[in-house]
């Protein structure tokens, strides 16, 4: 809770030539979501799905499709640009990149 947003890193897909693929951390401002599902539908890695939780406005915000899973966010930042509500954004997690 109360996570302070850090610098936005989602820029371009991760370089395919790079063997280490980056791992993205997804941040959600749950009360802003209007459940349009654009982030879910157009995530190139299919890492999101609609949750069964309701936010205060009665929409279902997205959640991870599997935890932990094969399908991992790569921090491409597409969801952040496509979300009409400024409700989701990602960062690339540096530590996990090393760990791979």
């Amino acid at each position: 809770m109360g996570k302070k947003p850090m610098k936005f890193i989602g820029r371009g897909l991760v370089d395919k030539g790079d063997k280490k693929s980056a791992v993205g951390k997804i941040y959600l401002i749950i009360e802003r979501c209007k459940g349009c599902n654009l982030c879910i539908e157009f995530c190139p890695k299919d890492v999101l799905k609609e949750s069964s939780v309701f936010n205060k406005k009665g929409y279902h915000p997205p959640e991870l499709i599997e935890v932990p899973g094969e399908k991992m966010c790569v921090g491409c930042g597409y969801c952040s640009l496509i979300c009409p509500e400024f409700a989701i954004y990602t960062e690339i997690e540096e530590d996990e990149k090393e760990a791979e």
Binding site: K3, P5, L28, C36, L38, E41, S80, P84, A87
Partner: protein, 292 residues
């Protein structure tokens, strides 16, 4: 922690990290968010791509001015935290023109709708293009007057259903890109709300250029136009844009007419010219007068 909320633990475990603010908030009047736009409305993407473009270009936010007219997308001026002005219906272009002439150091962008810019404001926009006035115009083309309940606009395709064309629209739409290209615009492009990366690139490109720049952005209006024309949800319309928008940079604008909302259409940068802008012409001519 004002935005505390109750979520069951299972969800929090499985979910991503919860945040309270977004990196775009620095350029948003975040006290006015959530905005009024319907679920899936394409207006939001125009704002998010515009903000990203300004950030990537590292433009001083104090030097950015946003002007909009009336309509759903007209709210853009109220949500963006720059110097912004929400003008009367159709008058965004004359306001922006005056602003740019008086304060040439500002990056003046108009963000408005097809109805606002091409119906009531139609005369203004052709003349701004003719003058090659130094403003960027981003038009959310949702084929309709969204805000007032879905009436037809000068961009509504022939045969389409709207509240004022219940039997189908008998009028042909303007080809917005061709209209402005032939009037004299220096930069003309068309994207859709699903092509966010390319749209952002295009806005960036346009922000670094001079003269009259026009970007048409096709946006879903699931509540108004989409519902009456079997276009489905915003997801359906976005998938349609993805599958049927064919990139054709440099296409002759006469060939990019949007005839039918359900057939292939061209997207891309159609016009990109370097020609003397209004302000340059003014500079040149006024300095000549002074020398006499």
């Amino acid at each position: 922690m004002s935005m505390e909320f109750d979520v069951d633990y299972e969800y929090q475990d499985r979910c991503m990290y919860m945040a309270e603010s977004h990196p775009s908030d620095e350029m948003l009047r975040d006290d006015r968010i959530p905005h009024i736009w319907c679920t899936g409305c394409g207006c939001g993407e125009i704002i998010s791509t515009y903000i990203e473009a300004v950030k990537e270009l590292d433009i001083n936010p104090d030097k950015v001015a946003i002007v909009s007219g009336i309509g759903c997308i007209g709210r853009a001026a109220g949500y963006l935290k720059f110097d912004s002005f929400h003008t009367t219906h159709g008058r965004a272009i004359p306001f922006a023109t005056g602003l740019k002439v008086a304060r040439p150091e500002l990056d003046v962008s108009v963000i408005s709708g097809d109805g606002d810019l091409f119906a009531i404001g139609g005369n203004h926009i052709i003349h701004a293009a003719r003058r090659n006035m130094d403003i960027l115009v981003i038009c959310s083309n949702n084929y309709t007057y969204g805000m007032t309940g879905g009436q037809f606009s000068p961009a509504t395709p022939i045969d389409s259903f709207t509240t004022t064309t219940p039997y189908g629209n008998c009028e042909r739409p303007f080809n917005l890109c061709d209209l402005l290209a032939s009037a004299g615009a220096a930069y003309v492009a068309r994207w859709t709300s699903i092509h966010v990366r390319r749209l952002q690139k295009s806005i960036k490109e346009a922000l670094t250029k001079k003269g009259f720049r026009f970007i048409e952005v096709l946006t879903p209006c699931p509540t108004g136009f989409g519902r009456r024309n079997k276009m489905g949800t915003a997801i359906d319309t976005s998938k349609f844009y993805q599958d049927h928008g064919k990139i054709d940079h440099g296409a002759d604008t006469r060939d990019v007419r949007l005839e039918d909302p359900l057939s292939d259409f061209s997207i891309g940068t159609f016009v990109d010219l370097d020609k003397e802008t209004y302000l340059e012409a003014k500079e040149r001519i006024f300095s000549r007068e002074v020398k006499k």
